[in-house]
């Protein structure tokens, strides 16, 4: 179980003949993910270490039974790949590509939504249901199977949290990297709803960061819709105002989007918030009655 990806995932990888695409497709397969196809226009009929390559995503759905699409396509072509995937019949699209223009994503977002397809990303590290399927670029060997769901905008920070939990002997159900771009297909609230509905998840760790108001909205959502315990973390407590910190999302202006306003909103919603990744893992351990190492 877990959310979005798992034993039933039949993955098609767009951009599989590229250097990064092939590396991560094979890495995902090695983890146990059922990689059924790759797509590179014009290279249909070839294969990448036994994975058949198709010209279109629709072909891979028809002929290889793909139900989940991972996009490893350069930014200038990635938005077209999102449209193609949404149109192909897959149920889940995971877009790893970083650097897609925001206006392009604005239009693609509404298209995907209308099609009723789930989009994760863009600019995300992917999704890993521990022990079942890893779709994306996460170093999944640091995760251990368990029942804590983890959602985060940031890749490496997600790994950090996953490792801190693993180090304390706390396993995870699904690690969900939602991405740091201004327009993403799945936000914190969507992720919380998925984990709330997942029988394999009994606790949620939500990692946010400065900028925007998603974490505040997530706090509202937790109050009304989430019964499972949530532990929070907000990166950027000490970030200066008005400076972009890498992620397009991570910029503070005035009082909105500050780490403190997010921490306050979460605390008010009954979420315990740790001040750093180690502190978060300790809060999770305490909440689960796991002995905390000194």
């Amino acid at each position: 179980m877990g959310v979005l990806v798992g034993k039933d995932t039949r993955l098609v990888v767009s951009g599989i003949t590229g250097r990064e695409g092939s590396f991560h497709a094979l890495n995902n397969r090695k983890y146990g993910t059922n990689v059924v196809a790759g797509v590179t226009p014009g290279k249909g009929g070839q294969d990448v270490e036994g994975i058949p390559v198709f010209n279109t995503i629709a072909d891979s759905v028809k002929e290889a039974g793909a139900n989940t699409s991972m996009l490893f396509v350069p930014p200038r072509f990635a938005v077209d790949a999102i449209y193609e995937a949404a149109d192909s019949g897959v149920e889940v699209i995971i877009c790893i590509t970083e650097g897609i223009p925001a206006h392009d994503m604005l239009l693609a977002y509404h298209y995907v939504k209308e099609k009723g397809v789930r989009l994760v990303g863009p600019n995300c590290p992917g999704v890993c249901t521990v022990g079942e399927a890893n779709v994306g670029i996460m170093p999944a060997h640091i995760f251990t199977p368990g029942s804590v769901g983890l959602v985060s905008r940031s890749g490496t920070l997600t790994y950090q949290l996953g490792k801190e939990l693993s180090d304390m002997g706390i396993g995870q159900s699904t690690i969900l990297g939602i991405g740091g771009d201004p327009i993403i297909g799945t936000n914190h609230r969507d992720a919380l709803a998925l984990f709330e509905a997942d029988p394999a998840t009994d606790m949620i760790v939500m990692v946010g960061e400065i900028g925007g108001n998603e974490e505040e909205l997530a706090a509202e959502f937790i109050k009304d819709h989430v019964t499972k315990p949530v532990i929070g973390y907000i990166a950027g407590l000490t970030a200066p105002e008005g400076k972009a910190m890498g992620h397009a999302g991570a910029i503070i202006s005035g009082n909105s989007g500050t780490a403190q306003s997010k921490v306050d909103a979460l605390t008010e919603a009954g979420v315990k918030v740790g001040e750093n990744p180690t502190a978060v893992a300790r809060l999770v351990a305490e909440a689960r009655g796991v002995a905390v190492p000194a």
Partner: protein, 385 residues
């Protein structure tokens, strides 16, 4: 990427938006010449990427070229909230009858452009929103359809735009929406949107911010970047393709991934230190990028120790280790470095560092442990200076 007023206006004009004629000047003499060519009264306006220019004395009226030169002398070099004025925009003076406000925001939560229109222009719009919210009309636009004339008209009625200029304001909103979409803007703001006594409608100021990810299709805008106004380290980082933000502490930070680097700044502060910078080498960093990044961090002479916080995913820790080893061979590194490597190829990376036997490199197991070590080393070095 934020644009100067005159650059924004240049883009406005390309989309038919009415703006005053003007010229850029870098010296008082150029300002004088510009005023001569424009003729009549001019306004000398500081070009900085910061609001509140008027209050700071950065906008002055001049009746003739000699006066324009004198005002330019006053304004050039002025420090407006940390931004030193190096560039001026000299434009035809406008007669002011009424001042409106209009903006288009990229609303990431609603996933739609958000229009805001008000008759209360020329002042801080956040104040209007707070004190007289009924005077700020707002509307979301379906990005698939774009802004249609009837919607702009509805917004104008909602904002109580005066009847004599309503059609002209509607036309300008449509032009600005066109600019917003076609130039890949994240923000377009006109404050004030000016009405002259004879009913002319004009964008008297411009705030224009363009999506960095879309600059590849706007080479013309990409060239507008004012590299001289950038901090030299930030400029170097931009050239090397890493994200660097200068801060004012003493612990240099190098990490991969924006979230992890922000978290690293936090743990440094929690350990009692102050970060000197934010530096994100991004995903899949190569040894060369590590060397360049270290060079950028070291060009800040306040740095007393450096904390490498790497969690390998797409980045391989062996590349990072090789970068550190190469950097220490090539650069004269005096400050101690604390390294924490985890994730992809971390064991091999750590072994490379151990084999290289580097005297000023300490390896730490955990992020918190490494932070404490880096802070201790920074204060230790400071004490001996």
């Amino acid at each position: 990427m934020d644009l100067y007023e005159h650059q924004g206006k240049e883009l406005f004009a390309r989309h038919g938006v009415n703006v005053s004629a003007g010229k850029v000047a870098y010296t008082p003499e150029e300002a004088e010449q510009a005023a001569k060519e424009l003729g009549g009264q001019v306004v000398v306006k500081a070009q900085v990427l910061m609001g509140g220019r008027g209050k700071a004395g950065g906008i002055k009226l001049a009746n003739d070229p000699a006066e324009a030169k004198a005002k330019a002398e006053d304004i050039i070099g002025l420090d407006i909230k940390g931004h030193v004025v190096r560039r001026l925009w000299i434009e035809d003076a406008s007669d002011i009858d009424r001042e409106y406000y209009f903006s288009i925001n990229f609303d990431r939560t609603a996933k739609m452009p958000l229009l805001m229109l008000s008759t209360e222009g020329g002042m801080d719009i956040e104040e209007v929103a707070e004190k007289t919210p009924e005077k700020l009309a707002t509307m979301h636009v379906d990005p698939v359809w774009g802004l249609r004339a009837f919607e702009a008209r509805q917004l104008a009625f909602q904002a109580n735009i005066d009847a004599d200029v309503r059609n002209k304001v509607v036309a300008m909103m449509l032009q600005l929406y066109d600019a917003f979409v076609k130039e890949d803007a994240m923000l377009v703001e006109v404050n004030p949107l000016l009405i002259t006594p004879d009913g002319e409608v004009k964008a008297l100021d411009s705030k224009f911010s363009v999506d960095d990810n879309a600059l590849f299709r706007h080479p013309y805008i990409a060239e507008m970047r004012d590299v001289q106004a950038q901090d030299p380290q930030e400029q170097m980082a931009h050239e090397k393709g890493v994200t660097y933000v200068k801060l004012d502490g003493e612990v240099g930070i190098l990490g991969n991934g924006a979230g992890l680097v922000m978290s690293t700044l936090d743990v440094i502060q929690q350990a009692g230190g102050r970060p000197a910078n934010f530096l994100d080498v991004g995903g899949g960093a190569t040894a060369e990028e590590i060397v360049a990044s270290l060079e950028i961090i070291l060009s800040d002479d306040k740095v007393r120790s450096i904390f490498f916080n790497i969690f390998g995913g797409i980045t391989r820790c062996t590349e990072v280790a090789q970068g550190i080893i190469t950097a220490l061979e090539q650069l004269d590194v005096q400050v101690p470095i604390v390294v924490r490597l985890d994730g992809t190829a971390s064991e091999e990376g750590l072994k490379m560092l151990a084999d290289a036997n580097l005297s000023n490199v300490t390896v730490a197991d955990t992020m918190l442990g490494a932070a404490a070590e880096a802070v201790a080393l920074a204060s230790g070095t400071t004490a001996t200076v």
